[in-house]
Protein backbone atom coordinates (compact mmCIF):
# COMPACT_ATOMS: atom_id res chain seq x y z
CA UNK A 1 0.00 0.00 0.00
CA UNK A 2 2.84 2.38 0.85
CA UNK A 3 4.25 2.03 -2.64
CA UNK A 4 0.85 2.64 -4.17
CA UNK A 5 0.28 5.78 -2.13
CA UNK A 6 3.71 7.02 -3.11
CA UNK A 7 2.77 6.33 -6.70
CA UNK A 8 -0.37 8.47 -6.32
CA UNK A 9 1.59 11.32 -4.83
CA UNK A 10 4.27 11.14 -7.50
CA UNK A 11 1.59 10.90 -10.16
CA UNK A 12 0.00 14.06 -8.80
CA UNK A 13 3.37 15.78 -8.61
CA UNK A 14 4.08 14.78 -12.19
CA UNK A 15 0.66 15.91 -13.32
CA UNK A 16 0.84 19.26 -11.63
CA UNK A 17 3.84 20.19 -13.74
CA UNK A 18 1.86 20.12 -16.93
CA UNK A 19 -1.74 20.46 -15.87
CA UNK A 20 -3.94 20.74 -12.77
CA UNK A 21 -3.46 18.41 -9.84
CA UNK A 22 -5.94 15.70 -9.03
CA UNK A 23 -7.51 17.79 -6.25
CA UNK A 24 -7.79 20.81 -8.54
CA UNK A 25 -9.42 18.70 -11.17
CA UNK A 26 -11.87 17.49 -8.59
CA UNK A 27 -13.28 21.00 -8.10
CA UNK A 28 -13.18 22.27 -11.64
CA UNK A 29 -14.28 21.24 -15.08
CA UNK A 30 -12.54 21.33 -18.41
CA UNK A 31 -15.44 20.26 -20.54
CA UNK A 32 -17.80 17.35 -20.39
CA UNK A 33 -16.19 13.93 -20.09
CA UNK A 34 -18.44 11.38 -21.68
CA UNK A 35 -17.85 7.98 -20.07
CA UNK A 36 -16.35 5.45 -22.42
CA UNK A 37 -15.24 1.87 -22.45
CA UNK A 38 -11.84 3.12 -21.32
CA UNK A 39 -13.37 3.36 -17.83
CA UNK A 40 -12.92 -0.38 -17.57
CA UNK A 41 -9.32 -0.39 -18.74
CA UNK A 42 -7.51 1.94 -16.38
CA UNK A 43 -3.74 2.29 -16.71
CA UNK A 44 -1.73 -0.55 -15.25
CA UNK A 45 -0.09 -0.24 -11.86
CA UNK A 46 2.42 -2.88 -12.89
CA UNK A 47 2.83 -5.67 -15.39
CA UNK A 48 1.46 -3.55 -18.24
CA UNK A 49 0.76 -5.67 -21.31
CA UNK A 50 1.48 -8.98 -19.60
CA UNK A 51 -0.93 -11.51 -18.15
CA UNK A 52 0.01 -10.12 -14.72
CA UNK A 53 -1.19 -6.63 -15.59
CA UNK A 54 -2.50 -5.17 -12.37
CA UNK A 55 -4.71 -2.09 -12.56
CA UNK A 56 -7.01 -0.39 -10.08
CA UNK A 57 -9.89 -2.80 -10.79
CA UNK A 58 -7.65 -5.69 -9.73
CA UNK A 59 -6.69 -3.68 -6.66
CA UNK A 60 -10.39 -3.17 -5.87
CA UNK A 61 -10.96 -6.89 -6.11
CA UNK A 62 -8.14 -7.50 -3.66
CA UNK A 63 -9.54 -4.86 -1.28
CA UNK A 64 -13.06 -6.35 -1.51
CA UNK A 65 -11.72 -9.85 -0.86
CA UNK A 66 -9.72 -8.65 2.15
CA UNK A 67 -12.77 -6.78 3.49
CA UNK A 68 -14.97 -9.85 3.09
CA UNK A 69 -12.46 -12.13 4.78
CA UNK A 70 -11.75 -9.67 7.60
CA UNK A 71 -15.40 -8.99 8.41
CA UNK A 72 -16.37 -12.64 8.45
CA UNK A 73 -13.18 -13.69 10.22
CA UNK A 74 -14.00 -11.27 13.02
CA UNK A 75 -17.63 -12.38 13.06
CA UNK A 76 -16.66 -16.06 13.18
CA UNK A 77 -14.05 -15.67 15.90
CA UNK A 78 -16.44 -13.66 18.09
CA UNK A 79 -19.52 -15.80 17.39
CA UNK A 80 -21.63 -16.50 20.44
CA UNK A 81 -24.98 -18.21 21.01
CA UNK A 82 -26.58 -14.91 21.87
CA UNK A 83 -25.67 -12.59 18.99
CA UNK A 84 -24.72 -8.95 19.42
CA UNK A 85 -25.61 -6.37 16.76
CA UNK A 86 -22.67 -7.16 14.52
CA UNK A 87 -23.17 -10.89 14.66
CA UNK A 88 -26.91 -10.39 14.21
CA UNK A 89 -26.29 -8.51 10.97
CA UNK A 90 -23.90 -11.17 9.70
CA UNK A 91 -26.33 -13.91 10.65
CA UNK A 92 -29.05 -12.08 8.76
CA UNK A 93 -27.00 -12.36 5.55
CA UNK A 94 -26.27 -16.04 6.11
CA UNK A 95 -29.90 -16.75 6.95
CA UNK A 96 -30.95 -14.90 3.81
CA UNK A 97 -28.96 -17.27 1.58
CA UNK A 98 -30.23 -20.28 3.50
CA UNK A 99 -33.85 -19.25 3.85
CA UNK A 100 -34.45 -17.34 0.61
CA UNK A 101 -32.29 -19.16 -1.90
CA UNK A 102 -31.04 -22.61 -0.95
CA UNK A 103 -33.96 -24.09 0.95
CA UNK A 104 -36.76 -22.94 -1.38
CA UNK A 105 -34.85 -24.12 -4.47
CA UNK A 106 -33.05 -27.25 -3.31
CA UNK A 107 -34.89 -28.29 -0.17
CA UNK A 108 -33.11 -30.48 2.35
CA UNK A 109 -30.54 -31.59 -0.23
CA UNK A 110 -29.29 -28.03 -0.51
CA UNK A 111 -27.64 -28.18 2.90
CA UNK A 112 -24.60 -29.80 1.29
CA UNK A 113 -24.19 -26.83 -1.08
CA UNK A 114 -24.94 -24.12 1.46
CA UNK A 115 -21.28 -23.22 2.10
CA UNK A 116 -20.57 -23.01 -1.64
CA UNK A 117 -23.64 -20.91 -2.43
CA UNK A 118 -23.17 -18.66 0.61
CA UNK A 119 -19.56 -17.99 -0.40
CA UNK A 120 -20.70 -17.24 -3.92
CA UNK A 121 -23.40 -14.83 -2.75
CA UNK A 122 -21.20 -12.95 -0.30
CA UNK A 123 -18.31 -12.69 -2.75
CA UNK A 124 -20.55 -11.26 -5.44
CA UNK A 125 -22.13 -8.80 -2.99
CA UNK A 126 -18.72 -7.57 -1.89
CA UNK A 127 -17.31 -7.36 -5.42
CA UNK A 128 -20.45 -5.58 -6.67
CA UNK A 129 -20.81 -3.08 -3.85
CA UNK A 130 -17.40 -1.53 -4.53
CA UNK A 131 -19.12 0.21 -7.47
CA UNK A 132 -20.73 2.75 -5.11
CA UNK A 133 -17.97 3.10 -2.52
CA UNK A 134 -15.96 6.35 -2.87
CA UNK A 135 -12.32 5.90 -3.92
CA UNK A 136 -13.13 2.48 -5.32
CA UNK A 137 -15.97 3.62 -7.59
CA UNK A 138 -16.07 0.59 -9.82
CA UNK A 139 -17.41 -2.89 -9.22
CA UNK A 140 -14.85 -5.68 -9.06
CA UNK A 141 -17.26 -7.68 -11.22
CA UNK A 142 -17.49 -5.04 -13.96
CA UNK A 143 -14.75 -6.73 -15.93
CA UNK A 144 -15.86 -10.06 -17.36
CA UNK A 145 -12.95 -12.01 -15.83
CA UNK A 146 -14.29 -12.34 -12.32
CA UNK A 147 -17.90 -13.14 -13.29
CA UNK A 148 -16.52 -15.65 -15.78
CA UNK A 149 -14.43 -17.39 -13.12
CA UNK A 150 -17.43 -17.60 -10.81
CA UNK A 151 -19.68 -18.84 -13.59
CA UNK A 152 -17.12 -21.52 -14.52
CA UNK A 153 -16.94 -22.52 -10.89
CA UNK A 154 -20.72 -23.07 -10.90
CA UNK A 155 -20.49 -24.79 -14.32
CA UNK A 156 -17.86 -27.29 -13.16
CA UNK A 157 -19.77 -27.78 -9.92
CA UNK A 158 -23.09 -28.70 -11.49
CA UNK A 159 -21.54 -30.88 -14.21
CA UNK A 160 -19.47 -32.73 -11.59
CA UNK A 161 -22.42 -33.19 -9.26
CA UNK A 162 -24.66 -34.40 -12.10
CA UNK A 163 -22.09 -36.92 -13.36
CA UNK A 164 -21.28 -38.02 -9.82
CA UNK A 165 -24.91 -38.73 -9.09
CA UNK A 166 -26.15 -40.22 -12.36
CA UNK A 167 -22.94 -41.33 -14.08
CA UNK A 168 -21.81 -39.72 -17.33
CA UNK A 169 -24.43 -41.51 -19.49
CA UNK A 170 -27.20 -41.04 -16.98
CA UNK A 171 -26.49 -37.34 -16.61
CA UNK A 172 -26.32 -36.76 -20.38
CA UNK A 173 -29.53 -38.71 -20.92
CA UNK A 174 -31.24 -36.84 -18.11
CA UNK A 175 -30.26 -33.40 -19.28
CA UNK A 176 -30.22 -33.84 -23.08
CA UNK A 177 -33.18 -36.17 -23.51
CA UNK A 178 -35.83 -34.97 -21.09
CA UNK A 179 -38.42 -37.71 -20.67
CA UNK A 180 -42.09 -37.36 -21.54
CA UNK A 181 -41.50 -35.96 -25.04
CA UNK A 182 -42.34 -37.70 -28.34
CA UNK A 183 -39.17 -39.14 -29.89
CA UNK A 184 -38.98 -36.91 -33.04
CA UNK A 185 -39.03 -33.79 -30.86
CA UNK A 186 -35.58 -34.75 -29.60
CA UNK A 187 -34.18 -33.65 -32.97
CA UNK A 188 -35.12 -30.11 -31.96
CA UNK A 189 -34.89 -30.38 -28.21
CA UNK A 190 -31.56 -32.11 -27.73
CA UNK A 191 -29.38 -29.47 -29.47
CA UNK A 192 -31.20 -26.74 -27.55
CA UNK A 193 -30.70 -28.55 -24.26
CA UNK A 194 -27.05 -29.19 -25.08
CA UNK A 195 -26.56 -25.53 -25.87
CA UNK A 196 -28.29 -24.65 -22.60
CA UNK A 197 -26.36 -26.99 -20.36
CA UNK A 198 -22.90 -26.62 -21.86
CA UNK A 199 -22.77 -23.04 -23.09
CA UNK A 200 -25.68 -20.77 -22.29
CA UNK A 201 -25.95 -21.33 -18.56
CA UNK A 202 -22.39 -20.33 -17.62
CA UNK A 203 -22.24 -17.69 -20.35
CA UNK A 204 -25.46 -15.99 -19.26
CA UNK A 205 -24.43 -16.14 -15.61
CA UNK A 206 -21.17 -14.34 -16.35
CA UNK A 207 -22.58 -11.90 -18.91
CA UNK A 208 -25.64 -10.91 -16.86
CA UNK A 209 -23.51 -10.00 -13.88
CA UNK A 210 -20.77 -8.19 -15.82
CA UNK A 211 -23.23 -6.33 -18.06
CA UNK A 212 -25.25 -5.13 -15.09
CA UNK A 213 -22.16 -3.83 -13.36
CA UNK A 214 -20.80 -2.19 -16.54
CA UNK A 215 -24.12 -0.48 -17.22
CA UNK A 216 -24.41 0.62 -13.60
CA UNK A 217 -20.94 2.10 -13.59
CA UNK A 218 -21.51 3.95 -16.87
CA UNK A 219 -24.78 5.39 -15.58
CA UNK A 220 -23.14 6.63 -12.41
CA UNK A 221 -20.15 8.10 -14.24
CA UNK A 222 -22.46 9.78 -16.73
CA UNK A 223 -24.47 11.39 -13.95
CA UNK A 224 -21.37 12.43 -12.04
CA UNK A 225 -19.59 13.79 -15.13
CA UNK A 226 -22.68 15.77 -16.09
CA UNK A 227 -23.02 17.12 -12.55
CA UNK A 228 -19.37 18.13 -12.60
CA UNK A 229 -19.79 19.92 -15.90
CA UNK A 230 -23.04 21.70 -14.98
CA UNK A 231 -21.92 22.59 -11.48
CA UNK A 232 -18.44 23.92 -12.19
CA UNK A 233 -18.56 25.06 -15.79
CA UNK A 234 -22.08 25.88 -16.96
CA UNK A 235 -23.60 29.23 -16.12
CA UNK A 236 -27.09 30.46 -15.25
CA UNK A 237 -30.01 28.11 -15.81
CA UNK A 238 -27.66 25.40 -17.02
CA UNK A 239 -25.99 25.38 -13.60
CA UNK A 240 -29.36 24.44 -12.09
CA UNK A 241 -29.25 21.34 -14.26
CA UNK A 242 -26.58 20.04 -11.92
CA UNK A 243 -29.29 19.58 -9.29
CA UNK A 244 -31.16 17.35 -11.69
CA UNK A 245 -28.11 15.30 -12.65
CA UNK A 246 -27.07 15.12 -8.99
CA UNK A 247 -30.51 13.82 -8.03
CA UNK A 248 -30.25 11.28 -10.84
CA UNK A 249 -26.79 10.28 -9.59
CA UNK A 250 -28.18 9.88 -6.08
CA UNK A 251 -31.05 7.75 -7.34
CA UNK A 252 -28.66 5.61 -9.37
CA UNK A 253 -26.38 5.08 -6.39
CA UNK A 254 -29.32 3.71 -4.43
CA UNK A 255 -30.35 1.71 -7.48
CA UNK A 256 -26.82 0.35 -7.84
CA UNK A 257 -26.81 -0.80 -4.24
CA UNK A 258 -30.06 -2.60 -4.97
CA UNK A 259 -28.66 -4.05 -8.22
CA UNK A 260 -25.49 -5.19 -6.46
CA UNK A 261 -27.60 -7.22 -4.04
CA UNK A 262 -30.10 -8.30 -6.67
CA UNK A 263 -27.42 -9.58 -9.06
CA UNK A 264 -25.77 -11.54 -6.25
CA UNK A 265 -29.19 -12.98 -5.44
CA UNK A 266 -29.93 -13.83 -9.08
CA UNK A 267 -26.50 -15.40 -9.64
CA UNK A 268 -26.75 -17.52 -6.51
CA UNK A 269 -30.38 -18.43 -7.13
CA UNK A 270 -29.62 -19.61 -10.68
CA UNK A 271 -26.59 -21.55 -9.47
CA UNK A 272 -28.83 -23.33 -6.97
CA UNK A 273 -31.37 -24.02 -9.73
CA UNK A 274 -28.68 -25.43 -12.06
CA UNK A 275 -27.28 -27.61 -9.30
CA UNK A 276 -30.76 -28.81 -8.49
CA UNK A 277 -31.47 -29.63 -12.16
CA UNK A 278 -28.24 -31.62 -12.36
CA UNK A 279 -29.20 -33.61 -9.28
CA UNK A 280 -32.87 -34.19 -10.09
CA UNK A 281 -33.92 -37.71 -10.95
CA UNK A 282 -36.09 -36.60 -13.84
CA UNK A 283 -37.13 -33.23 -15.09
Amino acid sequence: MGNLLAAVVSAEAADSGESKSYIQQMFSSDGFHAPSIAEFFPPAIFGDGTIFEFNRIMLIRVIAAIALLTIFWIAASRAKVVPNRFQGGIEFMLDFVKGQIVEPVMGAEGKKFLPFLTTLFLSIVFFNITGVIPFLNIAGTSLIGLPLVMALWVYVMYLYQGVKKHGLGGYLKNSLFPPGVPKPIYILLTPIEALQVFILRPATLALRLAANMIAGHLLLVLCFAATQYFFFEAAGAMKAMSAVTFAAGFAFVLFEIFVALLQAYVFTMLSAVYLNMALEEEH
Partner: protein, 187 residues
Protein backbone atom coordinates in the same frame (compact mmCIF):
# COMPACT_ATOMS: atom_id res chain seq x y z
CA UNK B 1 6.90 2.82 -10.74
CA UNK B 2 8.30 6.05 -11.98
CA UNK B 3 6.50 9.22 -12.83
CA UNK B 4 7.57 8.81 -16.43
CA UNK B 5 5.81 5.52 -16.90
CA UNK B 6 2.76 7.02 -15.24
CA UNK B 7 2.84 9.93 -17.60
CA UNK B 8 3.29 7.62 -20.52
CA UNK B 9 0.32 5.62 -19.34
CA UNK B 10 -1.66 8.82 -19.02
CA UNK B 11 -0.76 9.87 -22.54
CA UNK B 12 -1.59 6.48 -23.90
CA UNK B 13 -5.09 6.64 -22.52
CA UNK B 14 -5.46 10.20 -23.69
CA UNK B 15 -7.31 13.09 -22.14
CA UNK B 16 -10.49 11.10 -21.58
CA UNK B 17 -8.98 9.14 -18.71
CA UNK B 18 -6.76 11.44 -16.75
CA UNK B 19 -4.48 8.55 -16.10
CA UNK B 20 -4.37 8.22 -12.34
CA UNK B 21 -3.59 4.62 -11.70
CA UNK B 22 -5.11 4.34 -8.23
CA UNK B 23 -7.96 6.80 -8.08
CA UNK B 24 -11.10 6.96 -10.20
CA UNK B 25 -11.82 9.96 -12.42
CA UNK B 26 -11.93 13.10 -10.24
CA UNK B 27 -15.61 13.86 -10.91
CA UNK B 28 -16.49 10.23 -10.24
CA UNK B 29 -14.80 10.41 -6.85
CA UNK B 30 -16.18 13.84 -5.90
CA UNK B 31 -19.82 13.11 -6.52
CA UNK B 32 -19.72 9.61 -5.17
CA UNK B 33 -18.22 11.00 -1.94
CA UNK B 34 -21.04 13.55 -1.71
CA UNK B 35 -23.74 10.96 -2.30
CA UNK B 36 -22.10 8.34 -0.15
CA UNK B 37 -21.85 10.84 2.71
CA UNK B 38 -25.57 11.56 2.49
CA UNK B 39 -26.37 7.86 2.44
CA UNK B 40 -23.98 7.19 5.33
CA UNK B 41 -25.61 9.94 7.42
CA UNK B 42 -29.12 8.62 6.73
CA UNK B 43 -28.00 5.11 7.58
CA UNK B 44 -26.22 6.14 10.76
CA UNK B 45 -29.03 8.38 11.97
CA UNK B 46 -32.18 6.57 10.87
CA UNK B 47 -31.83 3.10 9.43
CA UNK B 48 -29.13 1.48 11.55
CA UNK B 49 -30.61 2.54 14.91
CA UNK B 50 -33.89 0.88 13.94
CA UNK B 51 -32.15 -2.28 12.79
CA UNK B 52 -29.97 -2.27 15.88
CA UNK B 53 -33.06 -2.01 18.03
CA UNK B 54 -34.45 -5.12 16.38
CA UNK B 55 -31.13 -6.93 16.73
CA UNK B 56 -30.85 -5.91 20.38
CA UNK B 57 -34.39 -7.08 21.02
CA UNK B 58 -33.62 -10.37 19.37
CA UNK B 59 -30.48 -10.80 21.47
CA UNK B 60 -32.49 -10.02 24.59
CA UNK B 61 -35.17 -12.45 23.51
CA UNK B 62 -32.63 -15.22 23.02
CA UNK B 63 -30.84 -14.31 26.25
CA UNK B 64 -34.19 -14.24 28.09
CA UNK B 65 -35.18 -17.57 26.57
CA UNK B 66 -31.91 -19.17 27.61
CA UNK B 67 -32.22 -17.74 31.10
CA UNK B 68 -35.79 -18.95 31.37
CA UNK B 69 -34.80 -22.42 30.26
CA UNK B 70 -31.88 -22.45 32.72
CA UNK B 71 -34.20 -21.30 35.50
CA UNK B 72 -36.74 -23.98 34.65
CA UNK B 73 -33.99 -26.60 34.62
CA UNK B 74 -32.66 -25.42 37.97
CA UNK B 75 -36.16 -25.49 39.38
CA UNK B 76 -36.74 -28.98 38.07
CA UNK B 77 -33.43 -30.13 39.57
CA UNK B 78 -34.32 -28.53 42.90
CA UNK B 79 -37.77 -30.14 42.83
CA UNK B 80 -36.22 -33.53 42.10
CA UNK B 81 -33.74 -33.10 44.93
CA UNK B 82 -36.51 -32.07 47.29
CA UNK B 83 -38.64 -34.98 46.21
CA UNK B 84 -35.75 -37.41 46.69
CA UNK B 85 -35.06 -35.95 50.11
CA UNK B 86 -38.71 -36.24 51.04
CA UNK B 87 -38.81 -39.81 49.82
CA UNK B 88 -35.72 -40.70 51.87
CA UNK B 89 -37.20 -38.98 54.88
CA UNK B 90 -40.51 -40.78 54.42
CA UNK B 91 -38.73 -44.10 54.14
CA UNK B 92 -36.74 -43.38 57.30
CA UNK B 93 -39.91 -42.34 59.07
CA UNK B 94 -41.69 -45.52 58.03
CA UNK B 95 -38.75 -47.60 59.27
CA UNK B 96 -38.73 -45.67 62.52
CA UNK B 97 -42.48 -46.20 62.99
CA UNK B 98 -42.12 -49.90 62.32
CA UNK B 99 -39.27 -50.14 64.81
CA UNK B 100 -41.29 -48.19 67.41
CA UNK B 101 -44.28 -50.45 66.87
CA UNK B 102 -42.15 -53.54 67.36
CA UNK B 103 -40.59 -52.16 70.54
CA UNK B 104 -44.00 -51.13 71.81
CA UNK B 105 -45.45 -54.53 71.01
CA UNK B 106 -42.62 -56.18 72.91
CA UNK B 107 -43.23 -53.81 75.81
CA UNK B 108 -46.95 -54.54 75.79
CA UNK B 109 -46.26 -58.26 75.72
CA UNK B 110 -43.77 -58.05 78.57
CA UNK B 111 -46.17 -55.88 80.57
CA UNK B 112 -49.01 -58.33 79.98
CA UNK B 113 -46.77 -61.18 81.01
CA UNK B 114 -45.67 -59.36 84.13
CA UNK B 115 -49.25 -58.43 85.05
CA UNK B 116 -50.46 -61.99 84.46
CA UNK B 117 -47.64 -63.27 86.66
CA UNK B 118 -48.50 -60.80 89.43
CA UNK B 119 -52.18 -61.67 89.16
CA UNK B 120 -51.43 -65.34 89.36
CA UNK B 121 -49.21 -64.81 92.37
CA UNK B 122 -51.84 -62.71 94.05
CA UNK B 123 -54.53 -65.28 93.38
CA UNK B 124 -52.32 -68.02 94.69
CA UNK B 125 -51.49 -65.95 97.78
CA UNK B 126 -55.14 -65.11 98.43
CA UNK B 127 -56.09 -68.73 98.05
CA UNK B 128 -53.26 -69.72 100.38
CA UNK B 129 -54.33 -67.23 102.95
CA UNK B 130 -57.94 -68.36 102.72
CA UNK B 131 -56.86 -71.96 103.08
CA UNK B 132 -54.76 -71.01 106.08
CA UNK B 133 -57.62 -69.12 107.66
CA UNK B 134 -60.03 -71.96 107.03
CA UNK B 135 -57.61 -74.45 108.42
CA UNK B 136 -57.05 -72.30 111.43
CA UNK B 137 -60.79 -72.01 111.92
CA UNK B 138 -61.15 -75.74 111.46
CA UNK B 139 -58.39 -76.35 113.95
CA UNK B 140 -60.00 -74.02 116.46
CA UNK B 141 -63.44 -75.52 116.01
CA UNK B 142 -62.05 -79.02 116.03
CA UNK B 143 -60.14 -78.36 119.16
CA UNK B 144 -63.30 -77.29 120.87
CA UNK B 145 -65.51 -80.02 119.52
CA UNK B 146 -62.96 -82.77 119.79
CA UNK B 147 -62.36 -81.79 123.38
CA UNK B 148 -66.06 -81.86 124.22
CA UNK B 149 -66.59 -85.14 122.42
CA UNK B 150 -63.59 -86.76 124.01
CA UNK B 151 -64.54 -85.52 127.48
CA UNK B 152 -68.06 -86.79 127.06
CA UNK B 153 -66.74 -90.08 125.83
CA UNK B 154 -64.24 -90.42 128.58
CA UNK B 155 -66.84 -89.46 131.22
CA UNK B 156 -69.04 -92.15 130.01
CA UNK B 157 -66.27 -94.68 129.93
CA UNK B 158 -64.66 -93.68 133.18
CA UNK B 159 -67.93 -92.88 134.86
CA UNK B 160 -66.50 -90.07 136.56
CA UNK B 161 -67.38 -86.56 135.96
CA UNK B 162 -64.79 -84.54 134.47
CA UNK B 163 -66.84 -81.53 134.83
CA UNK B 164 -64.24 -79.73 136.71
CA UNK B 165 -63.29 -77.30 134.03
CA UNK B 166 -59.77 -76.65 135.05
CA UNK B 167 -58.75 -80.19 135.15
CA UNK B 168 -60.75 -81.04 132.09
CA UNK B 169 -58.97 -78.34 130.14
CA UNK B 170 -55.58 -79.59 131.25
CA UNK B 171 -56.33 -83.09 130.22
CA UNK B 172 -57.65 -82.01 126.82
CA UNK B 173 -54.62 -79.87 126.18
CA UNK B 174 -52.33 -82.64 127.17
CA UNK B 175 -54.07 -84.99 124.95
CA UNK B 176 -54.10 -82.69 122.01
CA UNK B 177 -50.50 -81.78 122.36
CA UNK B 178 -49.73 -85.43 122.48
CA UNK B 179 -51.86 -85.97 119.47
CA UNK B 180 -50.27 -83.14 117.56
CA UNK B 181 -46.82 -84.35 118.29
CA UNK B 182 -47.81 -87.82 117.16
CA UNK B 183 -49.22 -86.39 113.93
CA UNK B 184 -46.12 -84.33 113.35
CA UNK B 185 -43.89 -87.26 114.00
CA UNK B 186 -45.90 -89.33 111.57
CA UNK B 187 -46.38 -86.66 108.96
Amino acid sequence: MTAQTLLMAAEEHGAETEGNIILPAPYDLLWSIVIFTIIAVVFARVILPKLQKVLDERAELIQGGIEKAEKAQAEAAAALEEYTAQLTEARAEAARIREDARVEAAQILAEARRRAGTDAERIVETAQRQIDAERHQAVVSLRTEVGTLATDLASRIVGESLADDARQQRVIDAFLTDLESTVKAEG
